[in-house]
């Protein structure tokens, strides 16, 4: 599904530069559920952003579903993001003046889908996250957990091959976090490949594989026994 070879990334800080990723090698198969862990500054978010084509690597290879991701034009990157990737952010990143349904339908709009079809599909995904009754509500009228579920519905709407989550439970309390994790696990059960960044051990343990980063290199990469989130809900 995804293959990364000797990935390097540094950010300029004043005159010097900060070397964030120092040669990452990573391979993820379809259907996996991987947690990327590390303390802040370890480069975990940078790695996720590069995988999500939100940021670009300085050097190294990145192949997504057989396609080399390199020197993309903005236009092409936009098409790839829309087609291959679904994003879930810590701060939800919903558009605040659009209601739940419109937010979920937005990636479909950029796919050029017809309005009617778009709304049907968006409603289907909202139903899937259990928020069909809240379709006409604005993000500010929803709770954090509900907002994250809208964001998940939006990430799923375009039917992406890979779901990327950046601290998906970072802004939520424990109970809500487990609810969201249970939902993500369910998606993985259905076959979605999921990659998430987290710094919480309990959340990481709910994945099937943990990759630990420290100072820009992979310290540890191991398969774990998945803890099911349902039992805590």
């Amino acid at each position: 599904m995804l293959k990364i070879n000797q990935l390097h990334k540094s950010y300029p800080i004043g005159d010097s530069s900060l070397h964030v990723l120092k040669g990452i090698d990573l391979k993820v198969e379809a259907g996996e559920m991987v947690a990327i862990m590390g303390s802040s500054g370890s480069g975990k978010s940078t790695l996720l952003n590069i995988i999500g084509m939100l940021d670009e690597a300085d050097s190294g290879d990145y192949i997504l579903d057989g396609l080399p991701i390199k020197d993309l034009t903005e236009k092409k990157a936009a098409v790839y993001r829309n087609k291959f990737l679904g994003f879930i952010f810590q701060s939800f990143n919903l558009i605040n003046y659009k209601n739940a349904l419109e937010n979920v339908a937005l990636p479909l709009y950029y796919q050029g889908m017809k309005r009617k079809e778009r709304q049907e599909k968006a409603l289907f995904h909202l139903e899937k996250v259990g928020l069909a009754d809240w379709a006409q509500h604005l993000p500010k009228e929803l709770s954090g957990g509900q907002n994250q579920r809208v964001a998940i519905a939006r990430a799923l709407a375009a039917n992406p091959k890979l779901l990327l989550a950046d601290e998906p439970t970072g802004a939520l309390d424990t109970t809500t976090s487990y609810e969201i994790m249970a939902f993500i696990q369910q998606l993985n059960d259905e076959g979605k490949t999921i990659l998430m960044v987290t710094h919480e051990e309990d959340i990481a343990n709910m994945c099937k594989r943990i990759v630990r980063l420290r100072d820009g290199v992979i310290m540890e990469d191991k398969k774990v026994e998945q803890v099911r989130a349902e039992q805590y809900v």
Partner: protein, 409 residues
């Protein structure tokens, strides 16, 4: 291509961000409103000015005669100088294309009557050119023409006031008016910006008057306008040379101030034209000033809007929006708001001017107003300025990495 979904996105964005939309709309509307009002008032001032000096042609030269005050070439002082048709022809032929319009005048008073109404009026016997010299506006019928001069026809053109007073507000055209016992056909009626006095005049062909009043070829006065393409100095020297030639023709001393008098409006028009130029300049400064203030305002707001939407742009990019769609959504929104607001400002501005215009007359502001095309031009300028001001940051925002835009709070 008309993309319904794009427009839906734009209208939603405008509708859901009302404060922002109203703020930028207000700036534009206010700029256009100020522009319209200031420009309108300045135009009103100019109108007042033009009216004060614009009743009669301001490139006129008047030639009058009187009695000599100095003995010259063996002729005694106190001699009466009388212009005749030959003098009129002489000036006309001698001046060639330096003269635009020329007419002779004979002044008489006449008792005019129609049916039971009767009154005294001033009579002017003139050539056809007189209409343009005096800026007489024909209401019905026609003015004196060359045919009248040649055939000495008994026709008159009368002012609106005479029509009201003698014909009791019925149409005078085609009826016969009695002047000191002789009936004249009314071939035209006129109005004149010069006021009531001018509208109580009777115009008659000069040849007819010469025939009836004394059967001679005397002329009381000659009026002409010089070619408007002449500059101020040329006009002055034309007037001087005319005076010199006439004095020679009538054997009048050069320094005789009474015998032949040539009054040249060019002596006064320089000040008038300088003032008009100054006024036009002030109007332009006011117009550009308000426009620039508007441009600065809308530019600031556009930069602010793009800044405010940076995060939204990041989200849209993460979901697969192309840079082009980002730029177009921001640009079309701003153009739409500016255009609508500009139009509203224009309507309000014109409404205000319409409403307060009449009451401003006592402050020397007459018929204030602006041409619609000028205000539309100003609005388009603002739209273009707003688009450029919006395009640059929108383009920049569409280029920043989504991750940077997303981090923006």
């Amino acid at each position: 291509m008309f993309d319904l979904d794009l427009w839906r996105e734009i209208f939603q964005s405008i509708n859901k961000n009302r404060t922002r939309s109203l703020l930028s709309g207000f700036t534009v509307a206010f700029a256009i409103l100020l522009f319209t009002i200031l420009f309108g008032i300045a135009n009103g001032l100019k109108n007042t000015f033009a009216e004060a000096f614009g009743d009669d042609a301001n490139n006129s030269i008047f030639i009058r005669s009187g009695n000599t005050t100095k003995a010259h070439k063996g002729l005694q002082a106190g001699r009466r100088i009388q212009f005749k048709n030959e003098d009129f022809d002489y000036i006309k032929d001698d001046s060639g294309n330096k003269v635009e319009f020329i007419t002779a005048r004979i002044y008489r008073n006449a008792t005019a009557s129609y049916k039971n109404e009767q009154n005294n009026y001033s009579l002017r016997a003139v050539h056809p050119d007189h209409q343009f010299l005096e800026k007489t506006k024909i209401k019905d019928g026609r003015y004196i023409n060359q045919n009248d001069i040649t055939n000495k026809t008994k026709v008159v053109v009368i002012g609106k006031k005479i029509e009201e007073e003698l014909f009791l507000r019925t149409t005078a055209l085609g009826k016969y008016i009695n002047l000191s016992g002789i009936p004249y056909k009314v071939v035209g009626t006129f109005t004149d910006d010069g006021g009531d006095w001018e509208e109580r005049l009777i115009y008659m062909p000069i040849s007819t008057a010469q025939h009836i009043y004394g059967n001679n070829d005397y002329i009381d006065q000659i009026n002409l306008t010089y070619n408007p393409e002449m500059n101020h100095d040329e006009a002055l020297s034309f007037g001087f040379s005319l005076e010199r030639k006439l004095k020679e023709r009538f054997s009048v001393a050069r320094n005789d101030q009474r015998a032949i008098r040539v009054g040249n409006m060019a002596e006064g028009t320089k000040a008038v034209s300088q003032m008009t130029t100054g006024l036009t300049f002030i109007i332009l400064v006011i117009g550009f000033g308000t426009l620039i203030a508007g441009i600065v305002g809308i530019s600031n707001i556009m930069i602010f809007i793009v800044k405010e939407r940076t995060k939204e742009i990041g989200i849209r990019k993460a979901l697969g929006a192309s840079p082009r769609s980002i730029v177009s959504i921001i640009l079309i929104e701003s153009i739409l708001i500016t255009a609508i607001a500009g139009y509203v400002g224009l309507l309000i501005g014109m409404g205000v001017i319409e409403a307060i215009g009449p009451s401003l007359k006592e402050y020397f502001i007459k018929d204030p107003g602006v041409s619609r095309s000028l205000v539309i031009g100003a609005t388009i300028t603002l739209i273009i300025a707003g688009s450029i001001a919006g395009y640059l940051p929108a383009k920049k925002a569409s280029k920043i990495k989504p991750i940077v835009a997303l981090r923006n709070d």
